[in-house]
Symmetry: C2
Subunit: 233 residues, 2 copies
């Protein structure tokens, strides 16, 4: 058994993936421990650790102390979606970007909003509706509520030139948040803004972000029909 020279963690990772794909190591199998693999590969255990950890992050390996490392029986595919500023998303496609503020009000939100954002039921929030355009055509409709207690500077922002989408990313950090993807039928007002038929199926992205215990902003983005969110596996 000549210790083949796998000197980088990437090459170790590639060899591990090769063995999984070639079914040398089958789903459910226990694979050798790090120390043994390090000897076999002719590298330090830390290098093997780095490689196995990377593969485990993709869901192809299950690792547990003492129990060892197993090939996942039913790997959970992990699709990472990169949600960028919409302007960048549009420009990355080579399209010209434009932004149109539809309305901007400071008012008491519906209970569904104040409830989700955990703001007082009578507390006013900044409400912004805006349209993002690609090549002059509607691309996405943004419907946003901003917690002025957390981002008071937003009160002075018109959001006509720079979108709330973009301004908030630079001026309001968040510690965590939730995001949900769903399909909904566009209602009259939304369909009108997007220039589509009422009840058309549109992809909706709902985000709610927090800074510690306080909600920062709640936003819904509706994308024009045909829009696809893509990524690799």
């Amino acid at each position: 058994m000549t210790p083949s020279s796998f000197r980088t963690w990437q090459s170790v990772q590639a060899e591990v993936l090769r063995r999984i794909h070639a079914r040398d190591w089958k789903p459910g199998d226990l694979i050798p421990n790090e120390a043994d693999l390090a000897v076999e590969f002719g590298c330090a255990r830390a290098t093997v650790n780095r490689a196995l950890r990377a593969v485990a992050e993709t869901g192809l390996l299950d690792r547990r102390r003492k129990a060892g490392t197993r090939v996942a029986a039913q790997p959970v595919a992990k699709a990472t979606l990169e949600i960028a500023v919409i302007r960048h998303e549009v420009e990355a496609r080579g399209d010209t970007y434009d932004h149109l503020l539809i309305e901007r009000h400071y008012l008491t939100p519906p209970l569904a909003i104040s409830g989700a954002m955990r703001t007082g039921s009578t507390e006013k929030l900044l409400h912004v509706r805006a349209l993002h355009l690609a090549e002059g055509a509607p691309y996405a409709l943004e419907n946003r509520w901003i917690n002025m207690r957390v981002v008071p500077e937003a009160m002075n922002e018109p959001f006509d030139r720079v979108s709330a989408n973009e301004w908030l990313l630079q001026h309001a950090a968040y510690t965590h948040g939730d995001i949900a993807f769903s399909a909904i039928q566009a209602n009259g007002a939304d369909a009108d803004s997007l220039g589509i038929a009422e009840n058309s199926a549109v992809l909706a992205i709902d985000r709610l972000t927090w800074n510690r215990e306080a909600s920062v902003t709640k936003v819904q983005l509706l994308f024009t029909p045909g829009y696809q969110l893509r990524t690799g596996l």
Copy 2:
């Protein structure tokens, strides 16, 4: 300056995140290099490296050799969706799972399919349509094409008890793939299978997986209205 004792990479990461959220380090700022931070934190450079790498993976830091590490000006949110076997997804919600095979044929696919899968235009593929149920109610409709040149064993699988969704994960490894999320209006047949009104908005997940140069399977999942794909940020 007493080197506060940050002994684990997680604690270093927490401190780095704290400084970003507290805007000690603002968007666009260059932060100290690893060696300096290691001295300040009283730990090894490798520990700082591990922490900064983890933060960079979330998109909050941009790291480049020689140029150093900067706080991202416009962080790209990364949402990782875990696409599990549908049975597990349903059971994880505490619901009972059932599976209903609708049809299973070995036939020449439409050109759109053979084109995407890069199979010969006259080459037959296995086509499977099936319904996944939660608590007896339709949950998702699966429409799948399987490359028999890559997974010939599938020919002997009835897919009536074990879904193609589940069987393939155990018996056909893939090296890479694409996934797309979109909103579409259910056509007559699909709406019928799902027990919903025609033209209802449904969330569609389209996946195409490959084993090296050969396509393994192409599948579309249509989820009943109201379904949300959720994750944290």
